[in-house]
């Protein structure tokens, strides 16, 4: 165990990942403190999703280490499932469990992974659904919900595990424009309530509102990392400025 790893909520150290010949991550390091919100941006194929998945070990990094507080998930004998259960993950395409109503989607984690009794798990699930504003949809199946509602249930499902960190992989990019707002609203609320969040997203309005830092990835490394305003006003690399202008054109900047 690294002596200062316990000081950070998350510590990512020199993570590498290759798929066949392609080296997707070429040494990524950064840390996060409690209640931080960081937004990762970068062109398609630069390894943003791969990085998120290496952090909770849905993908095995080839090299490098990741700590959540003082637990190293990349350790050889690490209790991976237990550490992973402390990190929420929100996917681009929701991935709700088709056969379960919203409430059961949210309850199954606390009940089956944490072994919390059914009644208490139900209460937890109801609270999580209330947080995302979907209390009244508890009995609806995923197919009966809109994309925005499905994504909010997915956020509730992650929240119900009381995670120390939430990872979001482009949570709004599969949504119709008019549904994006309701999801971002929930995420802003979480950030303001002190959740630690690492978010891959090109919603610059969101980034400007809540991000402590923006991480710009390119070619499998972090090219630049800075608070939103300073990155917009004064990018250190030419590429950063170009990319920011490009996504501002594509996505608009307003909240």
């Amino acid at each position: 165990m690294n002596s200062d790893s316990a000081d950070h909520l998350l510590r990512v150290e020199d993570v590498h990942k290759r798929y066949g010949r392609e080296e997707v991550l070429r040494g990524v390091s950064f840390t996060m403190e409690r209640a931080d919100t960081k937004v990762i941006i970068g062109a398609s194929g630069t390894g943003k999703s791969t990085l998120l998945r290496c952090i909770n070990k849905l993908t095995d990094p080839d090299q490098g280490r990741v700590w959540l507080e003082n637990q190293e998930i990349t350790g050889r004998r690490a209790p991976v499932n237990r550490i992973r259960s402390q990190m929420g993950f929100v996917f681009q395409d929701f991935n709700l469990f088709t056969h379960l109503p919203a409430l059961d989607n949210v309850r199954i984690g606390p009940q089956r992974v944490k072994g919390i009794r059914r009644r208490e798990a139900t209460t937890l699930a109801q609270e999580a659904l209330a947080t995302v504003g979907l209390k009244e949809k508890a009995q609806s199946y995923p197919a009966q919900l809109s994309g925005g509602q499905q994504q909010r249930v997915a956020i509730a499902r992650a929240l119900a595990m009381s995670p120390k960190l939430m990872l979001f992989d482009e949570p709004t990019s599969a949504l119709d424009p008019e549904l994006i707002g309701e999801v971002l609203e929930v995420m802003v609320k979480l950030a303001k309530e002190g959740m630690t969040m690492l978010v891959v997203s090109h919603e610059m309005g969101f980034a400007r509102t809540v991000a402590d830092e923006i991480i710009f990835m390119e070619g499998g490394v972090i090219l630049e990392q800075a608070p939103p305003e300073s990155m917009f006003r004064n990018p250190q690399h030419k590429r950063t400025g170009e990319f920011l202008r490009k996504i501002s054109d594509l996505y608009g900047e307003s909240e």
Binding site: F89, F91, N95, R112
Partner: protein, 226 residues
């Protein structure tokens, strides 16, 4: 020559006994076949190396050879190496091993049509692979497998009639015995056919009912979204 169709009601109790044997045989082989088939399908989806190859070879062998040949090997062949079964047991074993191979393929198809993103989501909650299969994959796969499984049930019920050849007194066996004595082939086998048909229809309807009963909106083999 007697051109009249005659049915002797006194045949009915014996035919009914035969039908019960047919149903017991089919029930036993389907249940055993489902258990073995499920294991084979899990091996084919979730393992690599020797376990995968063994399971695949099993499925290939039993799907690629006639059921009747398998029955003959088990009932008349195995005694040569000292393994001897009652005719009924030989029937259950042969049909069970056979249907396991087919059911394995149905289960495999159903398991693979559960969206892989859901497996990732389950793992991201901290579920183990086993929990993921148990709580997420199987509840969906078992619903999706009902239609092909109904077909398998019908096939097995009908093909179980071959066991009369090794001396089992199933519906077909009883029909043969009575007809050989009474020479009322046409009448008897029409009645035998009707009895098979009645059971097939009842079971088909029962399974359709079950399918509707456990139906979940959005859960279909083709509709992979949401």
């Amino acid at each position: 020559m007697d051109m009249q169709l005659v049915f002797d009601w006194a045949w009915l109790p014996r035919l009914s006994d035969g039908l019960i044997v047919t149903m017991q045989l089919t029930g036993a082989c389907l249940a055993g076949g489902a258990a073995l088939g499920l294991l084979l399908s899990l091996a084919r989806v979730y393992t690599r190396g020797p376990v995968y190859w063994l399971a695949s070879a099993y499925v290939q062998f039993f799907r690629g050879t006639p059921l009747l040949v398998q029955l003959m090997i088990i009932h008349f062949g195995l005694p040569t190496v000292g393994i001897r079964f009652e005719p009924f047991i030989s029937g259950v074993v042969a049909m069970g091993l056979n249907t396991a191979a087919y059911q394995a393929e149905y289960f495999r198809g159903a398991i693979q049509s559960v969206r892989s993103g859901q497996t990732l989501a389950a793992r991201s909650l901290g579920m183990s692979p086993l929990q993921t299969v148990r709580y997420i994959v199987l509840p969906q796969a078992l619903r999706l497998v009902i239609p092909p499984w109904s077909n398998e049930l019908v096939y097995m019920l009908k093909y179980s009639s071959i066991v009369y050849m090794i001396g089992v007194s199933d519906l077909m066996g009883v029909g043969r015995t009575i007809s050989a004595r009474s020479f009322r082939f046409l009448e008897l086998f029409i009645v035998v056919a009707m009895m098979y048909l009645a059971v097939v229809l009842i079971l088909t309807f029962a399974l359709r009912w079950l399918e509707r009963r456990v139906h979940v909106p959005g859960l279909t083999t083709t509709g992979r979204r949401g």
